[in-house]
């Protein structure tokens, strides 16, 4: 009887509690990124570090305006971090566990395009607000439409089109290209978009060779010989992690980057680790305006300085993408909370608030412009390396506005490139 009375009192208290009190309950966010395997070092761990830093700062109310409110709308953030490693089936199982057992309020994560494609329909089925922060495939919102799924970073199309525009500008009279990309979705899509964009920009351009070694093959002597022998004006590579670093270590001493202008679309992740080994003139991308290409705004000063002082290493593009995902979701949460009179917002309300939102982050302006307001677009930048007094700098930096390197709403990336970038 006593227990029943207590329970009734508890229920009454909950029902009568002011909305503000409920809003103070922590917001539990599931963070998913590679914490083991080859993608952990270049992407997963820097992204996790960024999440740790940003969540800590937000919980302490130290974010720059308009991110100064504690946590999400006054509620502290509780992190649940899980590893993205494993086949897509186990990634989906872990996602279900995160939602149904750990009962997270929101999910932010996913680096692999394959995992994003696998998780998106499950997020929709479970009606769980999920934001992808890094994966690049444009297919997510080009092939389907979602209510609960968002992506606050732009697609790989921007990287390839940006690279094509850069080499056309930096190498006037370019007559031939060659590629060295990993033989799976990311490598094939990146090369496909780049090749297509170059054919549109420079009609009649010759493709000397397209090398597609196995992911993490490690030994590239033969591929480098084939590229050196081909002697193309420009070499495109979307290699990442150990493959990217092996290419720099093996290709540099053989004069690959000196012979052909070499574009490394994810090269920024290696620039701090291999500063002395990257030959001058190599074109580096950062998958957007991140790292060395980030604008000098209040958000970048707060994030980059705070991150570096905490982890003794500068943030890379995966760190930036994680930071801007958290900040975007925070703004959406607070907008939805304000709209509901201070009550804790539902997933649907947060989603509605994020749709078509434009906000500023450490990488500059993020516009949720594609995929019916669920897919972000951003500007991009490329530059060439130059070692100055032992420090790697970037020269001849060129920036390309978001509208120039992203397709318009409702048009598939490949169709847009084929149409000659028609708006």
């Amino acid at each position: 009887m006593k227990k029943l009375r207590l329970a009734t009192l508890g229920l009454l208290a909950a029902a009568l509690a002011p909305a503000g009190v409920l809003a103070q309950q922590p917001v539990k966010i599931g963070f998913v990124m590679f914490l083991s395997g080859p993608a952990a070092s270049p992407f997963g761990v820097p992204a996790k570090n960024a999440a740790d830093f940003v969540v800590e700062e937000l919980n302490a109310g130290k974010g720059p305006a308009p991110y100064g409110k504690v946590g999400f709308g006054g509620s502290k953030i509780e992190m649940v971090a899980i590893d993205e490693a494993g086949p897509a089936t186990s990634v989906v199982t872990e996602y279900r566990n995160l939602v149904q057992r750990s009962n997270v309020d929101l999910v932010i994560g996913y680096i692999s395009s394959g995992n994003c494609l696998a998780v998106a329909p499950v997020a929709e089925e479970l009606k769980k607000f999920t934001t992808f922060f890094d994966c690049g495939t444009p297919r997510i919102f080009e092939d389907a439409s979602y209510q609960y799924v968002f992506r606050t970073s732009s697609t790989a199309t921007k990287d390839s089109v940006g690279a094509a525009l850069y080499v056309k500008d930096a190498k006037p009279g370019i007559k031939s290209i060659a590629g060295l990309n990993q033989n799976y979705a990311w490598g094939q899509d990146s090369w496909g978009d780049f090749e297509l964009a170059m054919k549109v920009l420079v009609p009649g351009i010759e493709v000397k060779t397209s090398q597609m070694p196995k992911l993490f093959a490690g030994q590239y002597n033969a591929e480098i010989s084939a590229l050196l022998g081909a002697g193309a004006d420009v070499i495109h590579s979307s290699f990442w992690d150990g493959d990217l670093e092996a290419l720099i270590l093996q290709g540099g001493p053989r004069g690959l980057m000196a012979k052909s202008m070499t574009v490394l679309t994810t090269g920024e992740t290696a620039m701090h680790k291999l500063a002395a080994q990257i030959p001058d003139g190599t074109v580096l991308g950062a998958r957007g305006p991140f790292g060395p290409y980030a604008p000098d705004n209040a958000y970048n000063r707060w994030f980059a300085k705070g991150f570096e002082s905490r982890f003794q290493a500068p943030p890379n593009y995966a760190s930036y993408q994680m930071a801007q995902a958290i900040l975007g979701v925070k703004l959406a949460w607070e907008k939805a909370q304000d709209a509901s009179g201070g009550k804790r917002p539902t997933n649907e309300q947060v989603g509605k608030a994020l749709e078509h939102m434009t906000y500023e982050g450490p990488g500059g302006t993020v516009r949720m412009a594609l995929g019916k307001g669920h897919q972000a677009i951003m500007e991009t930048a490329y530059g060439q390396t130059k070692l100055v007094n032992g420090k790697l700098t970037l020269v001849n930096v060129k920036r390309y506005p978001a509208e120039v390197v992203n397709p318009p709403e409702g048009v598939k990336s490949a169709d847009w490139i084929k149409s000659g970038f028609k708006k």
């Binding site: 090398q211 030994q219 033969a222 022998g229 270590l249």
Partner: protein, 298 residues
């Protein structure tokens, strides 16, 4: 035609690397009948040890030319520390069990060692690029190659020649051949088979670690480095015949040259060319090129 030189050189360099990486696997199988999946971890441990020790050596400002000796020392260290613990502490209790059980045990060890590597070295990459560029370069067909590659080729030739000499021209080698042929009869005749197993396993571990250590200057040493190596090594020793040293050498040469030719002439098929060769060899010689039919014991 002008590509033939680079095709040959690339093939030889890749073959040398493959042989160094794979020869320990076939040696351990030949003597102990263990398909040692832990071989990939030994390779990775060698790479980490080589990168860490050589990095520390160069950071102290010691003679860069001696960094090659440090790479070699790293492999010796890994073999002496890791192999006896695994062989004496675990594998010797498994010899009576079925080959499949031992395979699973070594696979479990591989997974454990992958995590041990992460515990010790973390997930960030290690680099030791200096030894790769230290010796300058040479040219073939107008293409530049770092002379370091010749060290790999020389190392592979020295290992092949050294192992052949030990097996054919020394008393220890002849006893080892007896153990390979019939361990039970060798034991009955007074050969210390357990000691041969320990030495062979340590030598196999050393060879894998040597492969990893001398690869370290050309790659970024990251977790998961040993995964692909075990698959490639397996393909090489299967083509040559499990347990056959000449088979491993021939398998490495075939795979190296075929892969190089495909990269230069038909890059679209590079991904599966190695496994196509393996399938083709197994279709006609199910025990590999040098594999012998095992006599059935009654």
């Amino acid at each position: 035609m002008s590509q033939l030189g680079p095709v040959f050189v690339d093939g030889v360099i890749y073959s040398a690397w493959l042989f160094i990486a794979a020869v320990g696997l076939t040696l351990v199988y030949g003597v102990m009948k263990i398909l040692n999946v832990t071989h990939g971890s030994f390779y990775a441990l060698g790479a980490y040890a080589g990168a860490s020790l050589t990095g520390a050596w160069l950071a102290k400002g010691y003679a860069p030319m001696l960094s090659y000796a440090v790479l070699f020392g790293g492999a010796v260290l890994v073999a002496l520390v890791v192999a006896p613990v695994i062989e004496r502490g675990l594998l010797r209790f498994m010899y009576a069990k079925d080959e499949v059980v031992i395979l699973l045990v070594t696979y479990a060890l591989f997974l454990i060692l992958e995590d041990v590597i992460k515990l010790v070295w973390g997930v960030n990459p290690y680099f030791v690029a200096e030894p790769y560029a230290l010796l300058g370069s040479f040219e073939v067909g107008g293409l530049k190659y770092p002379t370091y590659n010749l060290i790999l080729v020389g190392l592979a030739l020295a290992l092949a020649g050294g192992l052949a000499w030990v097996l054919r021209a020394t008393r220890v080698g002849k006893l080892l051949l007896a153990v390979i042929h019939d361990p039970e009869m060798s034991r009955a005749l007074g050969v210390n088979v357990d000691r041969f197993y320990l030495v062979t396993f340590t030598l196999g571990c050393f060879l894998a670690a040597l492969g990893g250590s001398f690869t370290a200057p050309t790659v970024s040493v990251v977790p998961g480095l040993g995964v692909d190596v075990i698959v490639l090594s397996f393909a090489v020793v299967v083509i040559g015949g499990l347990g056959s040293l000449p088979g491993a050498a021939l398998g490495a040469v075939i795979v190296g040259l075929v892969r190089s030719a495909s990269v230069h002439y038909l890059p679209q098929v590079e991904l599966f060319v190695i496994y196509s060769v393996m399938a083709l060899v197994l279709a006609f010689r199910p025990r590999g090129l040098f594999g012998l039919a095992e006599p059935r014991k009654i």
